[in-house]
Symmetry: C2
Subunit: 330 residues, 2 copies
């Protein structure tokens, strides 16, 4: 018995075009189909004024062409830049971005991860520093900066090479005794490799070095006490400092100013990230630049690549050094 | 004839609960319904293990609980902060944000506006500087900073009051002759009122003033030439400058440094926006602070408010002044 229905259905289109229902479905969902079939279907769609229902389409094809992006916040300039480039990379592929910046609220992060199981989004790109978040195996997920489990690719800068480059640069710039300052998550993550890279670079170049490492939540004053402990007769025993982020470098430069020390004359500073003033002007300090556009492209490529039998567990992208006023370039 | 169906439908739930289908629909879609009915429906849903299908739900209720947010980019720190707070305001109401930052690509912006007509999103919050973008009447849309047409509310800072406050502050800080520097879109927009407010404040305080106004795309060197034209014997004839944004203030401070002028000793600078270093540290200059969390809340409230017969065409929120190192506070 034929159903009463005013609006034409996909079946009506198939009948009108003289093709199988599956062929109509493929055309509607943008899947490959022989050119003569596509033309027939498109003509039938036009003739019947068939309207693709996006919800029904989502239901049928399980494709929403929407990706969720999880990031602690968009205020931090490095995160803001990452959000910008991932959005551009998605738009270029006609994908949309659902933005979830929750200040690391694990309940809300988990809720977004569940959405992919409910077919509300096709996949997730996430920079998550939350030990409680659980990602089921085979969830279409690409992580940034922190490995989230087996079968989930992680994309990051080559942080080890970046740390090494910072040590080499300080050596090239004439430093004899340097310090490494770090504050951040104690969870296993890629940026932690900056430390090992820096040590490696110092050892290779015979650079004398000390380290001061704080965890998230520790007081910044610890850094000030560390610096004061290394001052003699108003002079710092270090002539170079590598800070784990540009944001930390900014704070350390203020501390040094308060201690009547001049940057870069008394002590040279290199940061990490490549943050620019107002997002696009000069660098906030001499810095190891993360390749943000390339990180964004890689995340999106890996997520949308369907026929990849084994996804790479960790992709490290090359960093570069840029002068930003806090070093003594020749 | 009863349909064969393994999964329970909304009808099955209604039958089980002994209520009308519309009551089940209301409960499922989170609409108000008498408490005893809600309990009956929820029990039936549990008993039958009825799964709300989100696509079908979107189809029935026309509610997606998703809002599109259009912003030129997320790299600019003011935009990054706005994105952050609108995201938080939406999350608090269990809404999701589809982020569209297209570097002002009018075709892509228009595409997102069309989504609301296709029921893919419930509404749009947009900061758009594109004269070509068309928004149909009765589209659920809240604009930021620029009025987009009748029946579309616009939310902005009280830019006029902000300009006035900048003039008053410079007068309070001892300035005698000041300048106003502006670069930006020539389209009608709320931030343009900063100029009129500043003039008004200067006149009220008997402050001598000059203006230099450039349009988007004009060369920044025009500002440098303007400053040089107002120098005599190595001194600037202005002792105060109000810059239309903190970003412009940053560039002007660099120009002044190159001209061997000291900020704030030789000339005091006030910017506009309230941008902080690294999104959360100190202000980049003395500044008129936009109330970003309040702007975000107002946008979301206006968009989601359904039973408002007349939406306010323009909402202006109060600004404040904050010291940021480029003025001579007593």
């Amino acid at each position: 018995m034929k159903q009463e229905n005013t609006a034409p259905t996909m079946k009506d289109v198939a009948r009108e075009a003289g093709v199988a229902l599956g062929t109509v479905s493929k055309v509607v969902n943008g899947l490959p189909v022989g050119e003569p079939y596509r033309i027939k279907v498109e003509e039938a769609i036009k003739k019947l004024n068939y309207q693709v229902n996006s919800y029904a389409q989502g239901l049928k094809s399980s494709k929403t062409y929407t990706i969720a992006f999880l990031i602690p916040n968009t205020r931090d300039p490095y995160f803001a830049n990452l959000t910008y480039h991932i959005n551009l990379s998605l738009l270029r592929r006609k994908y949309k971005m659902l933005l979830c910046s929750t200040d690391s609220d694990s309940v809300q992060e988990q809720e977004y991860i569940t959405m992919v199981q409910q077919n509300k989004v096709d996949g997730i790109i996430g920079l998550i520093y939350n030990p409680n978040v659980i990602i089921e195996e085979n969830t279409p997920f690409v992580a940034i900066d922190r490995s989230m489990g087996p079968n989930i690719p992680c994309v990051a800068s080559d942080n080890f090479a970046g740390g090494q480059l910072a040590a080499e640069k300080l050596a090239d710039l004439g430093c004899k005794k340097v310090a490494f300052l770090r504050i951040g998550s104690s969870l296993d993550n890629e940026p932690n490799k900056r430390k090992a890279g820096f040590e490696n670079g110092c050892l290779a170049r015979g650079l004398d070095y000390e380290m001061k490492i704080l965890n998230d939540g520790d007081s910044f004053e610890e850094f000030e006490r560390f610096l004061i402990r290394h001052m003699h007769d108003g002079k710092l025993t270090f002539d170079g400092i590598f800070c784990v982020t540009d944001s930390l470098a900014y704070s350390v430069i203020h501390m040094l100013k308060n201690l009547n020390l001049k940057v870069p004359e008394d002590v040279q500073i290199i940061g990490f990230d490549g943050v620019r003033h107002f997002g696009e002007k000069d660098y906030t300090c001499s810095t190891i630049v993360q390749p943000v556009p390339e990180i964004a492209e890689m995340c999106v490529d890996l997520l949308l690549q369907e026929n990849m039998p084994t996804k790479p567990p960790l992709v490290c992208l090359p960093v570069s050094y840029e002068y930003g006023g806090t070093t003594l370039e020749k």
